[in-house]
């Protein structure tokens, strides 16, 4: 085996090694990150990018792999975050127990609501999941009994010392990386399993799967619960990263941003959602800090006003991608090759 072939086979492992070692690097990336890679601020942003990359990968299990358009994915993510947070702050459990139970809460929620919403298909399913997620969002914001903190959010207490504080950002980064690896492996394994083949069939033609003597309902539920579980796990990791739960994570805008990430990167591909999630999160943070900088403040108001809103730019970018780049970033090399072959 020559080197390029080896590289093609093992580059994910190489990339993982590089990612694991990043906290030890002091390499500055001017323009891309504020400080050197190993600085807490950069690591925090990188960890967020990895978490959202993983979340988008999990969401694509529904959207790209099974063809289910769910608008309620935020609910399971927020379920993991808030359940863990509440168990920490209200019940005073130790972190690992709280995280385990929080994850379990997310799984149960996904199984319960999935079994109801999957009775619908297509747009009906999308709307029912949206309605459930909205219910969760209302519940958190109205703050029954004063436990969720309402619009203020809920800061986590009782976290182990090695997960708290700016000097421990590297630990959080590694946890985010581990979560990403778990998600990638789980999704890849599930998609290649016999169940994954059925998902592919459901995506292409659900009626045909039925004709073959299989009940799509059960398979779709497995996909829904698996995606919900990964989202809840992501919620626990996000809780550690940001040190608390925020109501923004429950909103439908959160799910829509996952949708944008997946489509941006390339739905139904192995790396596309990851790339989309990382790009989106990075762009959102960089654009926000760009908006606050002097470069933008000096522009005429016609340019300055829209540029000060990251969400506006991302929304426009998204529409452009939908038009000009079907298949997302992951489809770009193939398109370029195709164009080259035509020329």
């Amino acid at each position: 085996m020559n080197v390029p072939a080896l590289l093609r086979r093992w580059w994910p492992l190489l990339a993982l090694t590089v990612l694991v070692l990043l906290p030890y690097s002091a390499l500055p990336l001017p323009g891309l990150l504020d400080g050197p890679i190993g600085s807490p601020g950069s690591l925090q942003l990188l960890a967020l990018c990895l978490v959202f990359g993983a979340l988008a990968t999990g969401y694509d299990l529904l959207l790209g792999r099974t063809g289910l358009l769910s608008f309620g994915h935020a609910l399971y993510f927020a379920g993991g975050t808030y359940a863990t947070d509440l168990l920490l702050t209200q019940a005073g459990l130790n972190f690992w127990l709280a995280a385990g139970l929080g994850l379990l809460a997310g799984v149960v929620l996904a199984a319960l609501l999935g079994s109801v919403s999957l009775r619908m298909s297509g747009i009906g399913f999308a709307m029912v999941t949206l309605a459930f997620a909205q219910a969760g969002s209302i519940l958190v914001e109205r703050d029954p009994g004063g436990v969720t903190g309402g619009e203020e959010g809920l800061a986590a207490t009782g976290l182990p010392g090695w997960l708290v504080g700016i000097q421990n950002t590297a630990n959080l980064y590694w946890i985010a990386l581990a979560y990403l690896v778990v998600t990638l492996v789980a999704v890849q394994w599930a998609v290649r399993s016999p169940i994954g083949r059925v998902w592919e069939g459901i995506r292409e033609n659900e009626r045909r799967v039925e004709v073959l003597g299989l009940r799509p309902y059960g398979f779709k539920l497995v996909a829904f619960v698996l995606a919900g579980t990964l989202a809840a796990l992501g919620g626990v990791v996000y809780l550690l990263l940001t040190g608390g739960a925020t109501p923004q994570a429950t909103t439908s805008d959160f799910t829509l941003s996952l949708l944008v990430m997946v489509v941006l990167g390339g739905s139904g591909t192995r790396w596309g959602p990851l790339v989309g999630g990382v790009l989106y999160t990075w762009a959102q943070h960089r654009l926000a800090s760009l908006a606050g900088s002097g470069t933008i403040a000096g522009l005429p108001s016609v340019l300055r006003v829209p540029l000060s809103q990251p969400l506006f730019l991302l929304g426009v970018l998204f529409v452009v991608v939908v038009y000009a780049l079907p298949g997302g970033v992951a489809g770009l090399p193939a398109r370029l090759r195709g164009r080259g072959a035509q020329a």
């Binding site: 297509g122 209302i138 809103q309 929304g315």
Partner: protein
């Protein structure tokens, strides 16, 4: 008794807003299979345009007309500019509206700030009147009246005009209408104009109802608009009318007689229960 009357009228007022949002959504979805996520953005455009006109010295009726016109134009521009080029890719159409739905509220809050702006409610609509011992705000009646006018207008348009016939036929079977040599794309633009006008009208009236406008108003009303559309059966205007009354009333009564927020929850639970019993909604029409 007076509380019940007040809650009923307020619930109907809220239901009227939902109807204005849902009727357009329902028609657009029924005809084009596009779930219009930009509908909330159209509502916000209408709300801000009305607010802008009303605070620049226009009277409220004129401001509302202006807001509705701006919303209609925005909706037609959206259809012609973004939806039309994607006719063969329905999923991408939905995604494009998602993008617009994210970008427009962000743009609005960039221009006028993320905080709520007070809506200048005209004096003639700020008062209350007495029905069965209850002091009912006048603006509730304006909302209900507007929704009724739109409902009747839609019914007449769909039932009595040639364009309405094309729209109804298109909802039933688009391919057949095209096969008969009718350019169904004109109907697409038409339903977008109607839906946009209704949504923008809802925006202007929402300013009156809530007393303020803010960039996120559209998306929160949109969610309940979706609930109404699903409950009423996609593509059915009458179904939406029935469902919005039910949703508005349940929400108001549950919010009052239990803790706040429970009404919103009970609407969602009701939706889930209805779908379990009748997966196709009240009127049994689900694409």
């Amino acid at each position: 008794m007076s509380t019940v009357v007040l809650l009923t009228v307020t619930g109907l007022g809220l239901g009227a807003l939902y109807f204005l949002v849902a009727s357009g959504l329902s028609l657009i979805f029924g005809l084009m299979d596009v779930l219009n996520f930009a509908h909330g953005a159209l509502l916000s455009v209408g709300a801000y345009a009305t607010w802008w006109a009303a605070s620049h010295g226009f009277g409220y009726p004129l401001a509302l007309l202006f807001g509705t016109a701006v919303g209609t134009l925005a909706s037609v521009a959206l259809e012609l500019g973004l939806i039309r080029p994607l006719y063969r890719r329905p999923r991408e159409q939905v995604l494009a509206t998602v993008g617009v739905g994210l970008a427009v509220p962000a743009l609005l809050s960039a221009i006028w700030g993320a905080d709520a702006r007070t809506f200048p409610v005209p004096g003639s609509l700020a008062g209350t009147f007495t029905v069965l011992g209850a002091n009912v705000p006048v603006d509730r009646l304006v909302l209900i009246g507007a929704a009724l006018v739109v409902l009747v207008a839609l019914k007449v348009f769909l039932g009595r005009t040639r364009h309405g016939l094309v729209v109804r036929a298109g909802v039933e079977d688009r391919a057949m209408v095209t096969a008969l040599g009718i350019d169904v794309r004109k109907a697409f633009t038409l339903v977008f104009a109607i839906g946009g006008a209704a949504a923008a009208l809802a925006g202007g009236l929402a300013g009156l109802y809530f007393g303020s406008v803010d960039p996120t108003q559209g998306s929160s009303l949109l969610v309940f608009g979706f609930v109404v559309v699903v409950m009423g059966g996609l593509g059915s205007v009458s179904g939406a009318a029935v469902a919005c009354v039910v949703v508005g009333l349940v929400q108001q009564f549950a919010n009052y007689y239990s803790t706040a927020g429970l009404g919103d929850l009970s609407v969602v639970v009701m939706l889930a229960a209805l779908l379990l019993v009748r997966p196709s909604g009240l009127t049994g029409r689900l694409a």
